[in-house]
Amino acid sequence: MGVSIRSIIDVWRYELDPRQKAMTGFAAAVVLAMITMAVAAPYITPKDPIFTNIDLRFRPPCKEYILGTDHLGRDVLSRIIYGARVSFTAAALAISITTLIGIVLGLTSGYIGGALDRLLALAMDSLYVFPRVVIAMLIAFVLGPQMHTIALAVALSTVPSFFRVTRSITLSAKERTFVEAARAIGGSRFHVLRECIVPQVAPSLMALAAVTFSDSILVVATLGFLGVGIPPPTPEWGTDLSVAREFLATGAWWNIVFPGLAIIFGTWGFLTLGEITNDLVNPRLRKR
């Protein structure tokens, strides 16, 4: 992978616009902050996210409760910090499953082709027809709302699209002349796969994984909102929003705005990093 790192640095230095660089820096900062938040949660939360105190319900943002309190008097900020844990753990689990299934099936299907490929592509296309949210919702509801089942639900809902893209880049990689050259040398199919195909698709797959990760965060939150997420009192951005919705009329805007912003930042950070990775990788591929 030496070429990837060296020419990626080249592309970064010479071909990226300063505004893009600024945005990347910002996105990286956001991602880092959020991961730190998730990891260091027990050490940085000002208050106990689960501790309820009816007297303190619906406090607007103030010095003591920086982001206000929810309908049970819990600190919104603390819940958001802990919520990061839940969201990222679920999304991380989900992305592991998705990349595993997606890469294995997509690579195999694209590289080997033939009847297997046609069958798999048809099966995946059929699933692709359904909205991700619906698939995830069905699976999550049926299997019961727990961390690993939610992760599975999200994973399975993102697999069809991940498979599609993986298969497609594998197919284009297969057409390159140096792949034919490797076969002409006498390389076995496995050799060609390892030596030619994998290095060629790996960078794009990394970008794809980043983008899918950001999508997973969104789906996890959506599941929470729809009522099939991790059950309370565990803090989760989506579930908290669904609860906040019921109390919309109280005008407690902080319950809605802040968890939402958390979702946005988390999703946006990873999405931007993924897209920049893609930009870094693809100009290199197009370079002659």
Binding site: F178, A184, G187, E195, Q200
Partner: protein
Amino acid sequence: MDQRTVVKTIGLKKWFSIRRGFSELFLGDKIYARAVDGISFEIARGEIFGLVGESGSGKTTAVRAMLMLTRPTDGTIFIDGKDVTRLDKKELRNIRRIAQIIFQDPYDSINPNRTISQIVSEPLRVHRLCRGKREIDNRVRKALSSVDLEPPEEFMKRYPHELSGGQRQRVAIARALVLEPQVVVADEPVSMLDVSIRAEILDLMKKLRRDTGLSILFITHDLAIAMYMCDRLAVMYLGKIVEMGATDLVVLRPLHPYTRALISAVPVPDPNHKRTEVELPGEIPSSLRIPAGCRFHPRCPLYQKRRNATCAETEPELKELQGRYVACHLAGPKE
């Protein structure tokens, strides 16, 4: 097979079936694109043999089939005396050590994700021919020197995108030679290079042939290059060989009307030379709809004049005539 022959093909065919979806299931009649429709030739050891034709002539498909990179539809292929159409996978792999290929596009035929050293040593590693890094490096260095990439150490650590087109093609040649094959197929090796670089690469190939006794099957659509490089030529049209023989003979005294037309199109750097360019009507038909009889007759100037019925009905065989082989009913001393 004669010991002096390194490659021999008999009746090589490669047809592609065109799927028409459901209609095919019902109608049963398969349509084939007959890219290579029965060609036979021999390449002697140490010879540079040219396969000349325009796009659509089938020359690229022919060599892919000859090297068993794609399964021939019919025909027999002998490489170094062995019938490669009957070999199993393992034996076929060994044949790869004898017959190698250089591709047209130097920008795409070497792995962009690997160093030059890894690229050139790949065949050695695939066939497990070397023991230890030092031996591999030595052989890579030798190969790079032989293609004039000096000093080799400078190039070994580099990546393809750091090299020019001409340098990349040299790397491709080095890779093809590292196994010390007996025959190398060069598929339009200079068409994508700058004109000023072409002569260097061509001369390099000639030098390699001189130094190692290598045979080269040289594919090109450029007759001028063929004239410069090749000892013998075969001219292809729509999947068949129409004329084959010593280059000087075929070029200076072409018998087949198609060869004549091709040659007349080659520019001559002499302002006093009268251009008698033969213009062929129409375009090369698709390999899906090959004309009946002689496949060239609809565009043939001789046929236009003489309207010989045989030309429209029977396919001409490749026959020896005036020191070379021609496939034409009308070519001959009469004309």
